[in-house]
Amino acid sequence: MFVQEYQAKRLLSRYGFSFPPGDVAFSTAEASSVAERIAAEAWVVKAQILAGDRGRFGGIKMVSSVSAAVAETQALLGSILVTPQTGERGIKVDAVYIERSVKIERELYLAILLDRFQRKLVLLGSPLGGAGIESVLAEQPDTLQRLSMSIDNAPDDDELRRFASGMDLNDALLDQYVQICRGLHQSVNELDALSIELNPLAIVDGNRLACLDVKMEIDDNAMFRHEDYAEIRARNRFDDRKLRAQSGYNYIRLDGDIGLLVGGAGLALATMDLLKLHEMEPANFLDLPPIASRSDVADACQTVLESPSVKALFVNAVGGGLTHCDTIAEGLITAHKKARITCPVVVRFAGTKREHGLTLLRNSRMPFQFADTMGEAIEILLRNMRA
């Protein structure tokens, strides 16, 4: 999961990074007291959303008085921010981060992350940084430095200095930079982070490196060893597309009209591809895990049908793992009992307990349409959509 800037800065406070003084505010009253507490000539008020490019799209405001900080907070709270990373619908602002404004002499880029291609932990650094970093790097790819590293052993000083030597820093700043790299390696290890991006990492006051913004993703799989992450997750339940990811299946709402209830991510992706090949549009992505229970299936079914654009439901399941076709059949029947399903439902079962699953559905007297293969299912769906 991604974490908000203020949450990331709190989590990272133990690792020797230098952040400008600041704090989160959920109301104008809190904004006023935060701004007063931070002695400053100027403040930055930053919308807390789980997306980047805030600065260029109205999410970051510079102010030079406490009252202006309060006014900007009032304007931001409750507003919807749309940036290239939020999707078209945008994200509602529930909190702002208020920090002391610093004079930036130069912006750098530094990130540590799991390289999903090399399957290694890697440091990425550039002497250039800031909001436009992707296009800057596209034009000047040679400025990007990479350093792969072991998870258990941080690189030694020589390796880090060689990496840092591309950042155009004087000796004092270079020492700080190496320390920041060490802090990143340690924090990834201790916090189970998948990425920590310091952008910009800025030279301020002539001889100091300060982390002005942090983007951080932590590994959902590691929740069990971090008690404090439950609260972060609870606070960040903003994203309707993944809101239900905790309830045993992945659901992402899309714009089409064919609801999909599919077992397994690979088959779910293939089913979407198949619909598109036949010029039909999926209303959602949804994959049931191989351990989904009857109630998971019923809940998933209701979630899919909640979308008003759904004109037909396609249930595509290959029984395997612990989720067999009969479990899926029972889930469908449970969902129908709770809220009658009125659209056509095309069911294609294969694999473990196929016959039993089909028998349950036939006996339910609900209006299912059955297909033996995915190809047949597509034909039935096409007939339904033309009707």
């Binding site: 799991l114 799989n221 690979g266 793992g321 473990t352």
Partner: protein
């Protein structure tokens, strides 16, 4: 023939007394898999499914001669269970567990590098040599012995593909679900190397998906190797919903890699026959193999 496992393979189950370990061990035994014992710390000396249970993998290996182990342990215990199997010199570890922290897998990867162990998974359905040995959670009844090797990142799409192969009259030499995690044990390339040298395998079907670079690496390997057998591939996710992103690091590191079109092109360039639609696994294999 087939790779990695056959009817003689002696298999341990780590976590055999749990619900899943118990359920799938029972099914494997019914299939004919030689499950020879279980490992559950603190349960040493007990019997389960009429099999001896040991406290450690080391003891179990010594007493049973097992060379393979399948893990049905919860995510928080998976790292240590895998390390234990690696340290005990188990040759093939199959980890079914889903939800293992990625940093744990990076550590496992580093440990595997200097070991004699091969790891399948985690977050995978397992491995089967039809008619001989089934390790994992796959619905064994759909598989038939034959000459197609199958490697898949996905589980359920894998079953779909196998069902289509069987409808076309193609059995399988060995089927391996390598798992969908970001940091897996064996990769497409590792499996392709083994299938290359297996006399029982005539062609290989590879089922990939969007994300990562495993398919691109496979393409690179196949091209460099002038691979001697036909390879057929399907890549799921052409129309996958876009990833949520925050910040720039994921885009910088990807630098255009990982998309389905990129993968498909790389595979085509390596003379791989690409399955266009997920209803055409059987048909396409029929065209590729005479």
């Amino acid at each position: 023939m087939g790779i990695l496992i056959d009817s003689r393979t002696r298999v341990l189950c780590q976590g055999i007394t749990g619900y899943r370990g118990s359920f799938f061990s029972h099914r494997a035994i019914e299939y004919g898999t030689r499950i020879v014992g279980g490992v559950v710390p603190g349960r040493g000396g007990q019997k389960h499914l009429n099999l001896p249970v040991f406290d450690t993998v080391e003891q179990a290996r010594e007493m049973t001669g097992a060379t393979a182990s399948v893990l049905f342990v919860p995510p928080h215990a998976a790292r240590d269970a895998m390390l234990e199997a690696i340290d005990a010199g188990i040759e093939l570890v199959v980890c079914i567990t889903e939800g293992i922290p990625i940093l744990d897998m990076l550590r496992i990867k580093e440990r595997l590098a200097g070991s004699q162990t091969r790891l399948i998974g985690p977050n995978c359905p397992g491995i089967i040599t039809p008619g001989q040995c089934n390790i994992g959670i796959m619905p064994a009844s759909i598989y038939q012995p034959g000459k197609i090797g199958v490697i898949s990142r996905s589980g359920t799409l894998f079953y779909e593909a196998v069902a289509q192969l069987c409808r076309e009259g193609f059995g399988q030499s060995t089927c391996i679900g390598i798992g969908a995690d970001v940091v897996p044990g064996m990769t497409f390339v590792d499996c392709l190397e083994l299938f290359r040298d297996d006399h029982g395998t005539e062609a290989v079907l590879l089922i990939g998906e969007i994300g990562g670079a495993a398919e691109e690496e496979a393409a690179q390997y196949l091209a460099a190797e002038a691979y001697p057998k036909p390879v057929i591939a399907y890549i799921a996710g052409r129309h996958a919903p876009p990833y949520r992103r925050m910040g720039h690091s994921s885009a910088i590191i990807a630098a255009g890699k990982g998309g389905t079109e990129n993968k498909i092109q790389a595979l085509r360039d390596a003379n791989v026959i690409v399955v266009e639609s997920p209803v055409e696994f059987g048909m396409t294999t029929r065209k590729a193999v005479r």
